[in-house]
């Protein structure tokens, strides 16, 4: 099946998300759609899948124009989509999730579960995608959930499979497996549209690459292009992919945790006996797949989450139960992973957000009230220093792009003399340009003598920045390795396999 998009334009109010985009997907090819976050890739695919109606342009299947009023039409036409955020119902079984929407029934609408199961098992065998048919989706690891999503499309005889940022949630090993699956699907004749912003994966698997920037197709590239070429095409200017940093000069021990344990309300252990030491002037990265206790660990460090047992020391002083305010005042900067919910108050202005944790100290207050003039001047200074693109310091934070919002958070947290900087997922959702900037700032904080704890699920980021790496798995730090360690070792640790460390002691 040949799929063609011709002149697709989609506007949301004043924003043109897709600007007359042309795209041809030939039968049996893996076509990568490369672009930064917010470039309009997902909008384009949602239009193709019938979730949005294009304002202009048409979709052609085997050179015949079609219109999709909803996803149902797209599926009937042979298009399947695996969404970035899985469209699975956690409390349903795998089989129920797969059959939902095209159920096998007996008379009167009764479900024919046996036939549904057989169908799922048959397709899963045919494509080598093993899934536990009767398990609840919520009990499955993310990689397996993704297989369920792919099967959902295959059971409906999808000829074109759209994968929207499929590797964002996977470990490196799971990513390799996915790439294998993509190759075998291609051999079986299924075309794949692979949406991503990760250059390595594109080069590994794509037959053709279309690059999108700001809603427009800016060019096609061959998979033999270098990463730097692809990156500059994607961003529109030459970019440096490596992080510039000098060798670390670690000083005294700054942060120490001893057998730290965090337990949630349901009694589940989220952080399990974590003992770590971070020195002044070094970046300690906590790597790991999302949801292995990194979030809870950082929250425990700044006092946001109660600690069950164990202790946290900053420069020898016990801050385990000191409380958030006192901890921040003692020179801890905290960039939370969810900047929109935890890092900013999006309806507040940029200036207000810049003093969220400073306002009750001098010189930001004057007597009982805020010193608005001082705050205004301070905000202007920060905005120009951090190159925050905003219409003014009185604009609401919600009007800023993700990258600029993150700059606001960083600017606020780095406005003080820092002894410890905790940054979680600092570049999630950021374009390559902002990413460079954020990385430079983190390195600058280290060089100014702060201890830095970096939480990231992006392996490239961890490898680029870290002086030491601790890999978290199920609440534990299952291995600590030096900064230059190869990606494969860390990947295995992320998957919970600590045996690599015994083989070659670090």
């Amino acid at each position: 099946m040949k799929l063609e998009l011709r002149g697709i334009t989609k506007r949301f109010g004043a924003l043109t998300a897709n600007d007359s985009i042309d795209l041809v997907v030939e039968p049996g090819e893996i076509h990568a759609l490369l672009g930064e976050n917010g470039a309009g890739k997902s909008t384009l695919m949602n239009t193709l899948y019938g979730l949005y109606q294009p304002d202009e342009g048409e979709i052609l299947i085997d050179d015949v124009p079609v219109t999709f009023a909803g996803p149902g039409d797209a599926m009937r036409a042979g298009i399947g989509m695996v969404h970035q955020h899985f469209m699975l119902i956690p409390v349903f079984t795998v089989a129920e999730n797969i059959e939902l929407g095209h159920e096998r029934t007996r008379p009167l609408g009764f479900l024919d579960r046996r036939r549904a199961r057989k169908e799922v098992e048959e397709v899963s065998r045919r494509y080598g995608l093993q899934v536990p048919v009767d398990a609840l989706v919520q009990d499955l690891p993310v990689g397996v959930q993704q297989r369920v999503e792919i099967l959902k499309a295959l059971v409906r005889d999808a000829q074109v499979l759209i994968l929207d940022e499929p590797t964002a949630v996977l470990t490196p090993q799971e990513t390799d497996e996915l790439i294998e699956v993509m190759r075998s699907l291609k051999e079986a004749g299924t075309s794949i549209v692979f949406i991503t912003h990760k250059l390595r994966e594109v080069r590994a698997v794509a037959d053709r690459i279309t690059v999108i920037r700001r809603g427009k197709v800016v060019g096609e590239a061959s998979p033999t292009s270098t990463a730097a070429e692809l990156a500059s095409l994607m961003v529109g200017r030459p970019v440096k992919l490596e992080v510039d940093k000098a060798t670390a000069k670690p000083g005294d021990e700054r942060l120490r945790t001893d057998t730290l344990r965090v337990v949630d309300a349901a009694g589940q252990v989220l952080v399990d006996d974590v003992s770590l030491k971070v020195r002044a002037g070094e970046i300690y990265a906590l790597a790991g797949v999302q949801g292995n206790g990194q979030t809870e660990l950082t929250e425990a460090l700044v006092g946001l989450t109660p600690v069950e047992s164990g202790s946290v020391h900053l420069d020898g002083a016990d801050i385990t139960k000191a409380g958030v305010d006192a901890i921040l005042d003692s020179g801890v900067g905290y960039v939370p992973e969810d900047r929109l919910h935890d890092g900013l108050i999006s309806s507040f202005t940029v200036a207000e957000n810049l003093v969220l944790d400073l306002y009750d100290d001098k010189p930001y207050r004057k007597g009982w009230s805020l010193d608005l003039d001082y705050i205004h001047g301070f905000a202007e200074e920060r905005v120009s220093e951090y190159d925050v693109r905003t219409s003014g310091v009185d604009a609401a934070a919600s009007t800023l792009s993700g990258g600029n919002q993150q700059k606001v958070v960083l600017a606020r947290e780095m406005s003080r003399e820092l002894r410890l900087l905790i940054v979680a997922q600092p570049t999630r959702g950021l374009d390559v340009g902002s990413m460079e900037f954020v990385h430079q700032r983190i390195v600058a904080a280290r060089d100014a003598g702060a201890a830095v704890v970096l939480v990231s699920t992006e392996l490239d980021e961890v490898l680029g920045l870290a002086d030491r790496i601790g890999v978290m798995y199920r609440g534990r730090i299952i291995g600590e390795v030096p900064g230059g360690t190869d990606a494969e070792t860390i990947g295995l640790l992320m998957a919970g396999d600590a045996s690599v460390l015994e083989a070659k002691p670090a």
Binding site: M81, G101, Q130, S184
Partner: protein, 421 residues
């Protein structure tokens, strides 16, 4: 066609936990100790040794029953505290203990009242009668909330149904009255649907408003028309009980369940239909899907909004039938606020029943039993404050739910409007 054997094994980790968490173990244990002590002491030893209890035709010694029940429950409590039952058994133990306690309580009621006869069949019959509107209201709630729309307007739908049944039943006959009740209930359901689904109004506020709306509107029409012409507009015939052949002749169970009127039988049918349909049909799978994750349902081509409209309106109709039970099913006339909060209790039953039809029915029966017991006590034991005694079943319910059900999980998208695109 190439097949790639995936090297990775799919490992699903099932947490096989047989033991209960310590907190549950101690909590349930303490509750059992309380039950045991109360029945041993107050329901047993404090009684006059010769007092006899009359339950139906059964004669039991009051003191002995209380003591035996007390000792059995205390023994169970001891095991629970010392060793802990397995998780699957806790419900059974707790339920059994509560049942024993209720038996001891009833013998106490009879023995304490100097051998006043406790009509067990009558008591249970009343319980079911009182539970019928609750069960229907709860089924209405199941339909709405499983598809993601909170229905606080059950009360209003019932009231509209009761009014419709009385009005149309008087004019055109009880059968039409029943249909009218469903239509009136569905109308309130339709208003709920439009404002909740299309205009995204906060569903709890909307439900409360609709209740007040139904109360005011039926009250107004009652004053303005029904009162003026009671004979023509407010004298629906009550459905006569029908003895089902064979089933109605089963001792004890027959008179309890199968000598009722058509509204009660219709209730049985609706309960079974909702339970079967929800878990075994395509409609049910899709309904649960749109209540859990509407976007996922949308992406596989299910029309989320259309389904929600349909389910909320059907739910309204069922609640309307629940309202009809008050007029054409039992009393035979409409009165202002005749449903008197039953819709809210149905909502509570729905939540206690964890949004499942079976659980909701069980909770409704429990609430029905509690009300029936209160009525019974006010007759048989005038000496003690019956309000206080009538509290006991509710207290027991709350503790049982807290101990057994634990954290209640609503459908994930319950009350979340879905904005398609």
């Amino acid at each position: 066609m190439a097949t790639t054997e995936q090297a990775t094994e799919v490992v699903v980790e099932h947490q096989v936990v047989d033991a209960q968490p310590l907190r549950t173990r101690i909590g349930v244990g303490a509750f059992l100790v309380l039950l045991g002590v109360v029945s041993l002491w107050f329901l047993g030893l404090k009684l006059d040794g010769s007092a006899k209890a009359h339950l139906n035709k059964l004669v039991l010694p009051g003191l002995a029953t209380g003591v035996v029940v007390g000792v059995v429950i205390l023994a169970l409590a001891g095991y629970q505290l010392a060793r802990g039952f397995r998780r699957q058994q806790v419900g059974l133990v707790l339920g059994g203990s509560l049942l024993l306690f209720v038996v001891a309580f009833l013998t106490w009621v009879s023995a304490h009242g100097d051998g006043a006869r406790v009509d067990l069949t009558g008591l249970l019959q009343n319980s079911i009668g009182l539970a019928v509107p609750l069960m229907l209201g709860a089924m209405a709630g199941v339909l709405c909330e499983r598809s993601g729309v909170i229905n606080v307007a059950i009360e209003g739908q019932m009231l509209a149904g009761a009014f419709g049944a009385a009005l149309i039943g008087s004019v055109a006959g009880s059968w039409f009255g029943l249909v009218g009740a469903a239509v009136f209930g569905a109308l309130i359901g339709a208003i709920l649907a439009v404002f909740a689904i299309k205009y995204l109004v906060n569903q709890v506020v909307l439900g409360v408003v609709l209740n007040v709306f139904a109360l005011g509107l039926t009250g107004f029409f009652y004053d303005a028309f029904m009162q003026q012409n009671t004979q023509a507009l407010n004298t629906p015939k009550v459905f006569k009980p029908i003895d089902l052949p064979v089933l109605g002749d089963i001792p004890f169970i027959g008179p309890l369940l199968f000598q009722a009127n058509i509204v009660v039988y219709l209730t049985y049918v609706i309960i079974v239909a909702v339970d079967v349909a929800l878990f075994r049909t395509r409609w049910g799978l899709r309904t649960r899907a749109i209540g859990e994750h509407p976007k996922a349902a949308d992406t596989v081509g299910i029309k989320v909004l259309a389904m929600r409209y349909r389910n909320v309106i059907i739910g309204g109709a069922i609640a309307g039938i629940g309202g009809a039970y008050f007029t054409v099913g039992s009393v035979g006339a409409f009165g202002k606020n005749i449903t008197s909060g039953n819709g809210f209790i149905a909502l509570a039953a729905l939540i206690f029943g964890r949004w499942s039809p079976r659980g909701a029915v069980a909770a409704s029966l429990l609430f029905g039993f509690a009300s029936a017991l209160q009525t019974l006590l006010s007759f048989t034991v005038p000496g003690i404050p019956s309000n206080f005694l009538a509290m006991l079943p509710y207290v027991a319910t709350i503790l049982a739910v807290a101990g057994l059900v634990g954290r209640v999980r609503a459908p994930a998208a319950d009350g979340e409007p879905y904005v398609a695109r």
